[in-house]
Symmetry: C2
């Protein structure tokens, strides 16, 4: 079945040697026994093998390990385990990227639409996309639908639920979807231009599937999901269903993995490469300059991985959120390019001229850049 | 519906004020909009409220925030989102513990057996439990069954699959379970004493449910699951099924949450408190002195939370793993007490006298202490 490769940034801790640490990783993620008690057949077929190393600093290395696909089978859960199961608990190991074209179709199938599919579906040939979020939590379906109507009149392409809107009493899922789908249609009748509504379907895996189907039946245009809450594989399952709504992935609950400099998964790897493999058509990430802490370079690494032409998967559309305001959106378009969906939330709500006017200004900037 | 409280360790970053940071948390996890655009009703009913603060160091505070249960509804996914959704992406916020008795039965129901249930089921009145793992990955069902037989002859209480045994070609799930269940029975016939086999059922949520049912049908005694791979709520669903096998929770893929000093979830909170609420009968954690990095104090905090008498949930049985060897098991029994399941893996495999003799020695130490 062959192998796939993962590249790590390995920082040796006091008293550790790089050789031993890498040897430890090769065993920890597979056989979990010392070589002395392994028979030669298993040692050969199951244990990871270091295939590259480069020193990055006094105590830091870039290390490439090759893993047998047979250890994974066709199973995303077991892939995640080999990727970052036990080593998640050891210091100084950070995943930088994967060379896993061989896993395409065996383990992962990627987005069902991707950038080209979304552009085609919405007939938006080359410009960036505009997007926003319906909030706050605590609002009723009719309040959310009213916001949705005004955003749609203002011309926003994608109007998604806030990821905190689940199935609470104040705005149950079905009532909310019904009200917002209807608001989108009314706005389209009024201004002759269609916006697209994406409800949040984050829930237990099987309920996410039910809400996905229900959203499609009720006329929603796509869905939002927090894969680190539903379980990562849930997103992949949704992307494979016959019901075929595009998926926006939201990073809630994922920060433990990406915000530590010497541990976890690099943002480019997690939000760009892995989420793409797992079927995200849109990848929301916390943009530089907002309430979160990624650097511009990390944000660009996410964009690069999401759109990488070498990857066998359809491309994901980066959806930076946070830190984007009316007065700087041009700058971010320059920085990130046309294949981006820009998400402005709070700044549209705060706008002195109201939500519709704010949305119109945002969309004008999107169209002109 | 009332409120529940979460206690955080908040470390202010350069340029931050503690008041602003806590205010930011209260909004970020709920309405995600500035107060200026919230109406008074929503501000009152939906936004978190700081209800306690204590300074721990120059830049560090212990902060208690009270959250409306209405923001969660009865939904574990949305609970996880309020708990650590967007703030997972911000620096300096670590969850220390939850005061959530009010969520009992509304959101969480806890283990179906718990410590008393397990002791009762296995007729083990007060001593610690012994446990081990079947490995390595790459072994065939008959090789794993042969190991299982020898561990069982040696008297180990709980023999679990390594968490890397999924459904790979070399040892498909059903063949493996069939072979190991049979090995357990043969050993029981020979030595008149029953061991208990727990296969790994970690997979996509609905498949975990199928494997859980299949394991019960085939005569397995319990199951192992990696909740951070299946999705945390999957464990809770399993614990609620009519099929009623005890559940061991394994920490693979969770390290990003617990190994950073100023971010994430404290080990006591995640492995002790949250996993217990989510239905883990046994809680595996990486013990001090093994290949991982928790301190003895952190390990004891897990034990305390798992067994806390004040909590409305049945108690979870701590299952420290890593760093426990034949020559130090007495010390760990002294340290952690009788209500503990000690897991020795590699050290039994490496033993000069073979697996059965090693297991007998381990069980003797367990019985005498």
């Amino acid at each position: 079945m062959g192998t796939f490769k993962i590249t790590y940034q390995v920082t040796v801790q006091q008293g550790e040697q790089i050789d031993q640490k890498v040897e430890g990783m090769c065993l920890e993620q597979t056989t979990e026994l010392p070589r002395g008690v392994l028979n030669a057949g298993i040692e050969e077929k199951a244990v990871g093998k270091p295939v590259g190393r480069e020193q990055l600093g006094e105590e830091q290395y870039r290390v490439v390990i090759s893993w047998p696909i047979a250890d994974v089978g066709d199973d995303i859960s077991q892939f995640l385990n080999i990727l970052y199961g036990n080593i998640s608990l050891q210091p100084g190991i950070r995943i930088l990227n994967g060379e896993w074209s061989k896993l395409y179709k065996i383990v992962f199938e990627g987005p069902s639409y991707g950038i080209d599919g979304i552009r085609n579906k919405y007939d938006i040939s080359s410009r960036p996309l505009s997007s926003t979020a319906l909030k706050p939590l605590g609002s009723s379906p009719s309040e959310l639908a009213d916001l949705c109507y005004r955003f749609a009149l203002g011309g926003i392409d994608i109007i998604k639920d806030d990821h905190g809107l689940a199935n609470q009493e104040f705005a149950p899922f079905e009532e909310r979807v019904e009200a917002c789908v209807s608001a989108i249609k009314q706005a389209a009748q009024k201004n002759g231009r269609r916006s697209y509504y994406y409800p949040n379907i984050t829930a237990f895996a099987s309920e996410s599937v039910e809400r996905y189907k229900k959203a499609a039946q009720m006329g929603a245009d796509g869905v939002l999901i927090c894969p680190h809450i539903t379980g990562l594989e849930t997103m992949h399952r949704l992307a494979r269903l016959e019901v075929d709504l595009p998926i926006i992935a939201h990073p809630a609950f994922s920060g433990g993995l990406t915000t530590h400099e010497t541990q976890g998964l690099s943002p480019g790897f997690l939000y760009g490469q892995l989420w793409r493999a797992l079927g995200a058509d849109f990848v929301i990430y916390p943009n530089k300059g907002g309430r979160f802490t990624f650097t511009t370079e990390e944000c660009k690494a996410i964009n690069r991985a999401a759109r990488d032409e070498e990857s066998p998967f359809k491309k994901s559309l980066p959806m930076p959120a946070g830190g984007i305001k009316m007065q700087n959106v041009e700058r971010w378009i320059q920085e990130y390019g046309q294949d981006t969906a820009f998400l402005i939330g709070g700044n549209l709500y705060e706008h002195a001229d109201g939500i519709q006017a704010a949305s119109e200004q945002f969309c004008q900037k999107i169209s002109q850049n």
